[in-house]
Amino acid sequence: MVMTPPSAANPLSLAPGEKLANPSAPPAVTHGLSENVILTTVDDLYNWCRLSSLFPLLYGTACCFIEFAALIGSRFDFDRFGLLPRASPRQADLLITAGTVTMKMAPALVRLYEQMPDPKYVIAMGACTITGGMFSSDSPSAVRGVDKLIPVDVYIPGCPPRPEAIIDAIIKLRKKVATESMQDRAYTLQTHRFYERSHALKTVPPILTGQYLQMGTHATPPKELLEAMGMPIAEPVAELVPENEEI
């Protein structure tokens, strides 16, 4: 659909078949093309799809998740960035570590990260997941920064960071996703995914066996304690009944 601008034809009286050498209006053919044709690369299209639907894992271990939950809500509304929280790591491609990670939680976090499909991104949210935060001085169990366990793309400082800071981090992550190329993927693939180290801990059977009140140990006290409880309670209880009534 190529239109000749009316202003170019009318005021000048041209002979039939005669063409103006240098018309003052924009060239009609190329102008129409540029308004109707999009040129892009597969990379850009693919990245645009990915950055518009970063599904975060619904994962939170401490107070940072309160701010993250505020971000999910209607006031800050991160659905407009295409972020839908997923409850399964198999469907997620963004892990926001919201909250302190302890030595006890670390294996679970690494397992969640490994279960996510590639390509995947990690945002370390808050001081605890960057350096250990306020627990870094003397805690016997807080991991000093999740980047010791899994690779991190964006760090958000704060204790805890505001929801706006998470939005800022997500925009930065979108910029990072937008500049990636499928050709580079062979070079950026991680061969060594996380820092792994064998600790000399003594392996013991798990505490949580699924049997708690069913163990039978909660039913009756051991004999020694029964004797210790039974002997004195017999005398005072007999004396006590009138004393309680006084009160």
């Binding site: 670390a106 016997p140 209880v237 006590l240």
Partner: protein
Amino acid sequence: MAGTDSQPSSPEEISAPLVEAGAASSWLTENGFDHQLAPRDHLGIEVIQVAPQFLIPICTALYAYGFNYLQCQGAYDDGPGKALVSFYHLTKVDDNADRPEEVRVKVFLPRNDPRVPSVYWVWKAADWQERESYDMYGIIYEGHPNLKRLLMPEDWIGWPLRKDYISPDFYELQDAY
């Protein structure tokens, strides 16, 4: 809480006439339960110091006396080289209770062999609280139905809240630079 009894080794000094016996303590004395007195805390709550072997008789007696609610069980380390303390904060829960009577029972335990009978069979609320005290201080509550670590990983070695505890030099626990 810590520091109210700084001389556990000399209970004679603590039970000096400076401390006047409270209601629960006088009732225990009347009924022949051996215990020592400790100074009241800053809120004026009566503190009773008990030897580990008499804890269960005294706790059952206090339960019969009306202390039906274990408000808090906990432990602390009295200081480097000093005793580990297991304490029990008791109160009376009743309908329309107005400032009910409270008492705190303390047991001082030697840190090389801290063993004390479990009060789980008197107050069921002691279940997880004694597990936590075991987890953090290594106090062995004899007769507890499920004395396992509560917060620390099950294969952790050592008792993290003791004063002489040294954190392991794990890579994950080293400072981030």
